[in-house]
Symmetry: C2
Subunit: 373 residues, 2 copies
């Protein structure tokens, strides 16, 4: 099975996974420990503490869900919503739409707050929506919409949401570790992300964090969460030291041991660089790429672009698939196709985590110049 033995060394400049540092790959290959081994539990505790630092939160209930980012989304939905609850979800791309679907499957009545793809929300729009639907239990928004490359400001939203008694839920899959994100300062009650974007770890875990308000909501549930696998009332007894009866740990499921090693190492690298330096690097590389793309006559689709993912229109005369195939074949560069309504109309160039470098920016610009010639 030679293909597997030697996967090609791509330069991953799509919407994720992003390039994984060799240190993280090495951590992944460390000897497997048992999921109740004291040494593994220490590694897991450290991993959760590193996650708290990267999320900028003191939330005790911060842990990696044993699935990819969408499992984190579903974990938050099934635990915070009960059948009949109302929620508002901001839908301006694929991932907002997906959150609506996930929440509806929980039996919730979901009000979609829609704006055209690529646009984002003002505080006025959010306040109006909350006033239109006074009974909502959850208000959910995507900070970094991976399908459009649009960046959503989160400042000031919590006050609006909390004054109506709702919980503030954020999708940070494509922003955690690449954009400013202050879970506690911004009053976020529940948040999920993925490992394979700006943390530059392989996919397979979903960092989540729940604050006090979210905990109180879960403790007040009248029904069991519909998912056993994602039931936080049980997960917390495994992930939190002293979370079980008598202060011990209670086995729930077998955690993805080696993926936890990798996440630990990836988070360590993030904090070695420093969150502020890392965020500044993502901003600078975005500006460098933007200048180069605009010099090539390429235009951004969203008004407020993410630094981590650059969504540009496919220029007239260029063949979507052929361009991406040539980038892959001649340069080993992966960029992303358009998603949803943007299929065939957009390219998405990710500069995430380990991949957000001068070398990659200048290389992808050189490659596009050649391929679009």
């Amino acid at each position: 099975m030679s293909t597997t033995s030697h996967p090609a060394e791509r330069i991953l400049l799509g919407p994720g996974p992003s390039p994984v540092p060799q240190r993280v790959l090495q951590a992944l290959a460390a000897p497997t420990l048992g999921h109740l081994d004291p040494q593994y539990l220490a590694i897991m505790d450290e991993t959760c503490e590193l996650m708290r630092q990267v999320f900028q939160t003191k939330n005790l209930l911060t842990f990696p869900v044993s699935g990819t980012g969408m499992a984190g989304m579903e974990c938050i939905a099934v635990n915070l919503l009960e059948p009949g609850d109302e929620a508002i979800v901001c839908v301006n791309g694929v991932f907002g739409g997906r959150m609506k679907d996930v929440m509806e499957r929980c039996g919730a009545k979901v009000h979609a707050l829609e704006v055209p793809w690529g646009e984002t929300y003002s505080l006025e729009q959010i306040a109006e929506a909350l006033d239109r639907h006074p009974g909502v239990k959850v208000f959910a928004i995507v900070q970094a919409e991976t399908s459009t490359g649009a960046w959503q400001s989160l400042a000031g939203i919590a006050d609006l949401v909390h004054s109506r008694g709702a919980l503030f839920v954020v999708d940070a899959v494509t922003s955690l570790g690449g954009h400013e994100l202050r879970v506690d300062d911004w009053g976020i009650d529940a948040i999920y992300s993925g490992t394979q974007k700006c943390l530059s770890c392989p996919p397979g875990l979903s960092p989540v964090s729940f604050g006090e308000r979210a905990l109180a909501r879960m403790d007040a549930r009248k029904t069991k969460p519909q998912s056993w696998y994602l039931d936080v009332s049980m997960l917390r007894k495994y992930y939190l030291s002293g979370g079980g009866a008598g202060g011990g740990r209670v086995y729930h499921h077998t955690a993805p041991i080696n993926m936890t090693y990798a996440l630990h190492e990836a988070l360590t690298i993030v904090l070695e660089e420093g969150l502020n330096a890392r965020i500044a690097r993502h901003a600078a590389m975005h500006q460098r790429l933007r200048r180069g793309l605009e010099a090539l006559g390429l235009a951004y689709i969203p008004k407020n672009s993410l630094h981590t993912l650059n969504c540009i229109g496919i220029p007239a005369g260029a063949e979507d698939l052929k361009v991406r195939q040539r980038l892959l074949a001649d340069y080993g560069i992966e960029i992303g196709a358009g998603l949803g309504v943007m299929a065939g109309k957009a390219w998405r160039i990710g500069l995430m985590g380990h991949g957000s470098t001068v070398r990659n920016v200048d290389l992808v610009l050189a490659a596009l110049r050649e391929v679009l010639r």
Copy 2:
């Protein structure tokens, strides 16, 4: 974070994870590809084909769920059951009980067929239960009950189940790759397993397989599965080549790329050894361990013991925790504690996959002889 950089090299003789071959750890650390990269899709297709061979099935819909074994259990439950459906679950240990809980969370009415922990089921008991509950949509049983070490024969069950129009669902978490398991010959309609038991791959994926009857049931659903993450109607469009509209693949979630490499390598190793040789090795190592344990005066709890997991009573005078701690500290050997009602009463010694060797059997016997002295 030195603990993570150097996890100890344990000898994993508990209920899983089992020891991971170096080849599998190396595969895990191969460069990360994009989840839509043609090379990755080829690796995934190969992995699904290897899974079919190990499951002994032609089922097209055979793929790894992006979560640990319990995600596979939940995947089958949420896709095959709709609210109000009836099911029979055989409960003779923790995992049968868990399946009942998972299915009840799907809104199903679940009839537990209970026998004392450690015992298994006769065809007569199964036929009687099916006759008592004529409307059931699903009959579910655990082939290898990890909490008691009991082995359940599956021969002849399918005819009973199918003659009543129900689907035959099997938990094979602790048997796949270690015990005989013939999905097609035995008429199994849906089955799930884990990677970290007899396949000797780290935890993080759950191999599942669905047959034609299960597919027909899913196609006839009136409601969406309550889980978006585990919705097979979408997963099949990603995992099956040509599963999407127009014959293409449809993105669902970002698959755990590196874990797929590891599973590919682990399955390759299973088939290099040969399924029959591997099953015979597990049987021989079980017999060797049994002779040694019985010579030490230790007794098996289940009447029909698994070859892959040996569940023995803790002898009078031995301190459960102290013995396990000494095995870990002095020998680097992990064995399992009792689970559920067997906590404090049983030890579980796993001989799974790469761990089922003469070397490990003789070592754990020597260590127990010393520690129980």
